[in-house]
């Protein structure tokens, strides 16, 4: 029997993954009551919800979180705020879990160990698919139950839970297939995630090209679109769910058929052959640094630009919702003229904090190269440690300048498009670039920590960054003294709409240079730490 031992394998998979599954369940389903609660507070009356429904349908919201419908009900608002996040997150969870217990096990050689025993050819794979189908169903049920317990309509809640399960099952099938195609777990995850990204973009296009609250026809090319078209809390359609289940079963059958045809450990796609040697540019320190961080740089750039467009696109709508006496609005306004201006300044700073996270991660390679032992071979070559580390500081410094300029312009463009004023971009670009000295200080501190406290450096720098984020974004809400809140590396910078002041920028730059120079000197004069 090709399924001999399937029950043992199911128990085994549950035992290896129960904690992971539990965490996913709590985090994903737990968001439902939190969001319902906050939305009920934000839109307490039917008038408030109706007012929101008037402004909810913007292209940015349609593209990012799905085309709003039934926006005048709490269920509809829940869908706008949370549906896309939960559907995508649950799909990714299922993809990662299937790969972790499928291709990753095979790649690690543990499947060989099991299959050499009394275990049917498909038992492990099938057990894997069954366990995570049940997992997806439980998450969906929990979402429905929590929504009902919060007083939302039972019918709509069941359809919402079912729509999550439907989308997740399609991606379970896709992960089952990609796990057969590639020989590495990274490859399987990347391929399945790429399919997810394409599905997301197709439906984003269809939601933007919508006719009133009907998405364009090609949303039917995307599994995420099928889930959306169940229109929970709206018309509550059941047949898109059947489409999801049928496609999921088909994909799983394809995966098992592929498994029957291939050797253990092999894939269907040919292994990519790597470069025989490094290119002339790849051999330089600059080339090496950019090459190692390539996918991370692309990811951060795309993420930051999408975020910037979102910030610019929603600012006007959000400002309309917040009245001046709301404590959250007060925190946004700060020293600005009005809520809109305060909100835009706040978003520009939040964007700069994201760029700072990129700069921190990028410059952190100075420490990680040493702690992984890869620095040893480089430092015993003909390059001084100062030059070696210098390249790894200049890359994040220059890239974050470019990112600040681009994302600042993107906020301005999206905001300009919303208010019909195309000349907004330069103003935002300048306000965004003003945060460059703060980011230089971040890089300086990273080098300083890598040099002085190599083993604790990563934890300390990320910890400091976390404190800076909390102080910058929510410092006012904590009731901290004004001089503290105003003088952190990111709040000291003159905000968009405030008077320009050169002094903070000069002080931040000077601190960055001192920290960086002292860090480099110390890196040159201390012992290498062993891996």
């Amino acid at each position: 029997m090709s399924t001999t031992g399937i029950l043992t394998m199911m128990r085994f998979i549950v035992r290896r993954n129960w904690l992971r599954m539990l965490i996913w369940l709590v985090v994903l389903a737990g968001m439902i009551p939190l969001v319902i609660d906050s939305q009920r507070e934000l839109f307490p009356t039917q008038e408030a919800r109706d007012a929101y429904a008037q402004v909810a349908n913007t292209p940015a919201i349609a593209a990012l979180t799905g085309l709003p419908y039934a926006a005048g009900t709490l269920g509809g608002i829940l869908n706008i705020k949370l549906w896309m996040t939960l559907a995508v997150a649950l799909s990714l969870a299922v993809v990662f879990l299937v790969t972790r217990n499928g291709r990753a096990e095979e790649e690690g050689g543990r499947t060989e160990l099991l299959r050499a025993g009394v275990l049917g050819r498909h038992a492990y794979s099938l057990a894997n698919l069954i366990v995570f189908t049940v997992f997806a169903a439980i998450v969906g049920l929990a979402c429905s139950a929590l929504a009902i317990s919060q007083g939302l309509p039972a019918g709509g809640s069941v359809f919402m839970g079912a729509s999550f399960v439907g989308v997740a099952l399609v991606f379970l099938g896709i992960a089952a297939v990609t796990g057969q195609l590639t020989t590495t777990s990274r490859g399987a995850n990347a391929l399945a995630s790429a399919v997810l990204a394409v599905a997301y973009l197709i439906r984003a296009g269809a939601d933007v090209e919508a006719d009133d609250d009907r998405a364009a026809w090609f949303t039917w090319l995307s599994p995420i679109g099928w889930g959306q078209q169940m229109r929970s809390y709206g018309e509550n359609l059941w047949w898109p769910f059947i489409v999801c289940v049928v496609v999921a079963v088909l994909l799983c059958c394809i995966a098992l058929a592929l498994e029957r045809r291939r050797d253990l450990g092999a894939g269907i796609l040919p292994d990519r052959v790597g470069r025989r040697g490094a290119s002339a540019f790849g051999r330089t320190q600059l080339g090496l640094t950019l090459r190692l961080q390539r996918s991370s740089i692309i990811g951060w750039t795309v993420g930051i630009l999408v975020g910037a467009l979102f910030f610019g696109g929603v600012a006007t709508a959000m400002a309309n919702l917040l009245t001046g006496d709301n404590p959250i609005a007060q925190a946004f306004i700060g020293e600005s003229k009005d809520v809109l201006d305060g909100l835009l300044g706040f978003f520009t700073m939040a964007n700069a904090l994201l760029v700072a996270a990129f700069a921190l991660q990028s410059s952190d390679t100075i420490r990680s190269e040493e702690s992984t032992g890869r620095a040893e071979a480089q430092w015993s070559s003909a390059i001084s440690r100062i030059r070696w580390a210098g390249v790894r500081m200049i890359v994040p410094a220059v890239l974050s300048l470019i990112l600040l300029a681009l994302s600042g312009a993107a906020i301005g463009l999206a905001f300009g498009a919303a208010v019909g004023d195309a000349s907004q971009a330069p103003r935002f670009m300048v306000a965004s670039i003003a945060y460059w000295p703060s980011i230089l200080l971040v890089i300086g501190v990273v080098v300083l920590c890598a040099a002085l406290i190599p083993r604790a450096a990563s934890a300390v720098t990320w910890g400091l960054y976390g404190v800076a984020v909390v102080l910058s974004m929510f410092g006012d809400l904590f009731g901290l003294p004004d001089w503290v809140v105003r003088n952190t590396p990111f709040t000291a910078v003159p905000r968009l709409g405030q008077d320009f002041a050169a002094l903070p920028l000069i002080v931040l730059t000077a601190l960055a240079i001192v920290a960086g120079a002292f860090g480099l000197w110390r890196l040159r004069t201390r012992d290498m730490t062993s891996a």
Partner: protein
């Protein structure tokens, strides 16, 4: 050249906190020779090499490398040396070929033709990502990079870890060729056969201190040889001779050790006993080594 020493270390000291890693270590490598560096794990071999590479700073003593200071002149000296660590770590998402090119470019003497010939000899596929390499293949990346360089001095720290016997053979050839081209080599190793075959001199260290150093024949000279004889006469008279130790006599067979200085006298005493067979084996490196670490060392302290 003002000096014929590629490496000249005397009284080297290094502390890690309260741990004394090196405690007056001496090490000399004449230019163009292969020096073996023996010692158990944790005895200070890697620490010594890292000080010579300018990765660690010594706390005392003298260390000279190719006539320069390994800490102050690090970058200039590194153009003339190559290093293979005992556990080569690579960038998981770069191929072996890329890593070799990058390390060669850093040193500034990348020669693709030489790299290709060593890739062939070590039978290494340079198009695979380092993530998929076995331990042995990662060592090969380090070895190809080092041998393909035109370095005057090679530091090899237990370089054959994880290589199969075939590849160990290739490694032996490569070291012999490098020596023939005038390259100096420091070979730290646990494999006695490798060191006996390749090394002109041997330095044995213990707890961060040099306990024995010299050419193999010099070291052997200080030690007893083992002699096995078959005699017509009674071997028990041997026990009365000065310089004979560990005598085991069984009928006409006898095995004993003898100090090298006493050898002529012992042979003269053996002749009247009418020896029919005589085998004399010099002490192996393993015996020399174990003498400092094994049961014998413990007994003499």
């Amino acid at each position: 050249m003002t000096t014929t020493l590629a490496v000249d270390v005397a009284g080297l000291e290094k502390n890690f906190g309260s741990t004394r890693a090196l405690d007056g270590l001496d090490l000399r490598i004449e230019t163009g020779t292969v020096a073996g560096f023996l010692g158990p794990n944790g005895s200070g071999k890697t620490t010594t090499i890292r000080i010579l590479l300018g990765l660690l700073r010594s706390d005392g003593g003298r260390a000279m490398l190719l006539g320069g200071d390994p800490w102050k002149d690090a970058v200039a000296l590194h153009r003339r040396i190559a290093y293979v660590a005992g556990d080569v770590t690579l960038w998981p998402n770069l191929t072996g070929g890329e890593a070799i090119d990058i390390l060669g470019s850093l040193r500034g003497d990348l020669d693709r033709t030489r790299v290709d010939s060593f890739l062939q000899r070590f039978d290494l596929d340079p198009t695979k990502k380092a993530r998929s390499y076995s331990k042995g293949n990662r060592q090969k990346v380090g070895l190809v990079s080092a041998f393909a360089s035109r370095a005057e001095l090679l530091f090899l720290d237990e370089p054959t870890n994880g290589l199969d016997p075939l590849m160990e053979g290739v490694f032996t050839e490569c070291v012999a060729e490098a020596r023939a081209e005038g390259t100096s080599v420091l070979l730290s190793s646990h494999i006695f056969a490798e060191v006996e075959k390749l090394c002109d001199t041997v330095t044995i260290i213990r707890d961060g201190r040099t306990v024995e150093s010299g050419t193999l024949s010099e070291l052997r000279h200080l030690q007893r040889s083992t002699i096995t004889v078959t005699l017509d006469g009674d071997p028990s008279v041997l026990s009365t001779l000065d310089g004979v130790n560990d005598l085991v006599a069984d009928g006409g067979h006898a095995t004993f050790t003898v100090d090298s200085g006493a050898l002529p006298r012992v042979l003269a005493a053996l002749a009247p006993l009418n020896p029919r067979e005589l085998v004399s084996s010099p002490p192996s490196l393993e015996e020399l080594f174990l003498r400092h670490y094994g049961v014998h060392a413990a007994a003499t302290e």
